[in-house]
């Protein structure tokens, strides 16, 4: 037993070193990725990483950038802070990557940011909520391509509700019991007050919940006629379904996570709205087609419409590396990122532009979708509306 184990361990250690040696040997853009590929949040954080990989593979197949290939070193952090920290250290100090990409739960941010500061390597959040450090005035090393954005989302949503609502709005709010979601919903509550909406009930729901009905019951008894939820999709949709089971007939709006398009089609509920910054695949833009057949070719295990976030990450990466040129280092990549301006080809409402003090984007575009019974299809409840970021 023990010998066998020792032998195995030894072999594996050799393997690691070999692997790392390889990483050093080849001359390529070495990019590090740590994401929650397994564990609780992998449903949300897995697809972006998958999509990024897909995009980079296609770039490499097409000859790479500035004649150099891109080497993605992907590591799994299972959404565990300590694991993420170790991954970051490994990628930064051993594979010495010139850019670190993070797609995981917010709990992993602190350690990874600390590591990236220590190594002075830029860090790009992708498909993971944007920390406040990327908004102007942005911190030097942190960038974010993710669609959703604390604060702006609530603002846009409440404006939409105000516009769509006939009579007085009795607002119900739903958050998941994680600091991030709670913070945003609290902000929404504040803002609703200033906009003259009455918040009749606010539910903070713990992630593992056997039955959402008790929470829904409260919302219903509070007599809310609009419910806004800014939380992971599971919480949003399960609360909604529970409400409907209680024969609650009013309007529900949630953030359009990567699952949204498929879910709207599943639920077919005309009064369920989603607010998002990514266009749905039903628009059938060329870029959508491109993604779709890339997914088909590579036989990825996630549906194409979940690939948008990662694809945008890919676009940004490509643009940044083009600018950075060759030979490359972390500093060059950082300066490149600060000047990046990417045409999102309709995946977003407009281009994604970064400047020295704004690492989020100059303008945040929102679009609202819902299910239309007459057309038996998803329709736009409201087309792109831009919000200046400052």
């Amino acid at each position: 037993m023990s010998q066998r184990m020792l032998a195995g361990a030894g072999a594996a250690v050799l393997a690691i070193t070999a692997h790392i040696a390889a990483a050093h040997a080849q001359d390529a853009y070495v990019i590090g990725v740590t994401g929650a590929l397994t564990g609780p949040s992998s449903g949300t954080n897995g697809p972006p990483v998958e999509a990024l990989r897909l995009y980079v593979d296609r770039l490499n197949a097409a000859g790479g950038i500035n004649g150099k290939k891109i080497q993605l070193n992907i590591l799994d952090d299972q959404a565990e802070p300590s694991k993420a920290a170790t991954n970051a250290k490994r990628l930064l100090t051993q594979d010495n990557v010139s850019l670190l990409i993070l797609s995981s739960l917010s709990s992993t941010y602190a350690p990874v940011v600390a590591e990236s500061k220590r190594a002075n390597v830029p860090l790009m959040f992708m498909g993971a909520v944007c920390p406040k450090e990327v908004y102007p005035p942005a911190q030097a090393l942190q960038f974010c391509t993710t669609a959703y954005a604390g604060g702006y989302d609530s603002r846009a949503t409440l404006d939409f509700i105000k516009g769509a609502a006939a009579g007085p709005v009795k607002l119900g709010l739903v958050a998941m019991a994680i600091p991030l979601s709670r913070g945003e919903i609290d902000y929404a509550e504040e803002r609703a007050k200033t906009m003259g909406m009455s918040t009749v009930d606010k539910e903070v729901i713990p992630p593992p919940t056997a039955d959402y009905t008790p929470f829904a019951t409260k919302l219903k008894d509070a007599d809310a006629n609009w419910v806004f939820s800014w939380a992971p999709w599971v919480t949003q949709v399960k609360t909604f379904e529970a409400l409907r089971r209680l024969a609650w007939q009013d309007n529900y709006i949630g953030w359009s996570h990567i699952e949204a398009e498929g879910e709207l089609a599943r639920l077919k509920d005309p009064k369920l709205y989603v607010i998002g910054a990514n266009s749905f695949f039903q628009d059938r833009l060329p870029v959508h087609m491109e993604i779709a057949d890339a997914v088909k070719k590579a036989s990825v295990r996630y549906p194409a419409e979940q690939m948008t976030e990662g694809w945008i990450g890919g676009l940004v990466l490509e643009a940044a590396l083009k600018k950075a040129g060759w030979p490359v280092d972390a500093g060059k990549v950082r300066t490149a990122l600060e000047g990046v301006s990417v045409d999102t080809k309709g995946l977003r409402g407009g281009p994604l532009e970064w400047s020295k003090e704004n690492h989020f984007r100059a303008r945040q575009y929102y679009r609202f979708y819902r299910w239309d019974e007459a057309k038996a299809a998803i329709v736009q409840a409201k087309d792109w509306t831009a919000y200046e970021v400052r």
Binding site: T38, P40, P208, D211, T213, P214, K218, K220, R245, R266
Partner: protein
């Protein structure tokens, strides 16, 4: 309902209050019953295994989840025969239980209890990995795959319950009824109890312990899987199922780990306290409440409502 109440309110506050109160409280009772049923159905799995082998099966959550995923798999394969899919899934889940015992836990019989528990934890980790591997981590919807719908049924007093939730309640009643009968009158049931009380003597009296343990594991996995399937049918299927299974272990302990009746009452207590906490105190508490109840019970009556006191010294 609520709009109706609202209109009444303008007319005569008194009646509307009464009306509201009643519908609200009825809904509350319904919610309690449903949650309690879920917990009870999951909790009996812990009890079944514990009372024969003194092992706390920490993989119960994962096993329940696996059952649900098996249903999803059969549902997608046998798209047009939902009933067949259900039956196959149930049979497979039983097989899984037996397999887990025969292949793994069998070797742990007689080892340090803590080691056995850790083994179940390891099994849980393995299962989680395998499930992500096979079905990916994104949420699945067995209900659609089976082609069923889950309409909500009106209960008296304006309260409502979804079909699957109602099914859970019925199933729980069925499972517990048959388990009680089996353990009381069935010959294998008596053997099971005997093996639980004194495995050595049981073996010397010609009872095949491995058969008994395998039986316990299969029953436990079966009940757990049924719970998992019904929850998945009611509200979708993803990794969070694990934690629900783990939470159900509080009721089992509150009721007394070696008593089915206890598990039932424990589920009622925990379920109601959780729902009431959500409704009257603070929704945030809902995942702490079970453990608060647990601590309270452990300080007042450590061996649980219906548990046997000796258990304290046993483990």
């Amino acid at each position: 309902m609520s709009e109706l109440g609202g209109q009444d309110a303008d007319a005569s506050p008194l009646t509307s209050d009464l009306w509201h109160l009643s519908s609200e409280s009825v809904q509350l009772v319904v919610n309690i019953i449903v949650l309690a049923a879920i917990y009870a159905l999951l909790a009996c799995g812990y009890v079944l295994i514990y009372r024969v082998s003194r092992v706390m099966n920490m993989a119960h959550g994962e096993l329940s989840m696996l059952g649900a995923y098996l249903l999803f798999a059969t549902a997608t394969l046998l798209a047009h025969h939902p009933i067949a899919a259900l039956i196959v899934a149930v049979l497979m889940s039983i097989a899984v239980g037996v397999l887990v015992y025969v292949v793994l836990m069998r070797r742990m019989t007689g080892e340090m209890v803590l080691a056995a528990i850790l083994t179940t934890i390891a099994i849980g980790i393995l299962l989680r990995g395998v499930i992500v591997l096979v079905w990916s981590a994104s949420e699945q919807h067995p209900l659609q795959a089976l082609g069923f719908t889950n309409p909500s049924l009106p209960v008296f007093g304006g309260a409502r319950i979804s079909t699957c939730a109602a099914l859970i309640v019925v199933m729980t009643a069925l499972v517990y009824g048959s388990l009680f009968a089996f353990l009381r009158f069935g010959r294998w049931g008596v053997r099971m109890r005997a093996a639980g009380q004194n495995p050595l003597l049981a073996a010397q009296r010609g009872i095949n312990l491995h058969a008994i343990y395998a039986l316990a594991w299969s029953l436990s996995t079966l009940t757990g899987s049924i719970a998992g399937m019904l929850i998945a049918l009611d509200s979708g299927l993803d990794q969070s199922m694990v934690v629900i299974g783990l939470k159900a272990f509080a009721p089992a302990l509150v009721g007394g780990l070696d008593s089915l009746l206890g598990a039932l009452c424990g589920a009622l207590i925990v379920g109601s306290s959780e729902v009431l906490a959500i409704h009257y105190v603070d929704p945030l508490l809902s995942d702490v409440v079970p453990f608060v109840v647990l601590i309270a019970m452990l300080t007042v009556r450590p061996w649980g409502l219906f548990g046997t006191r000796e258990e304290l010294d046993r483990v």
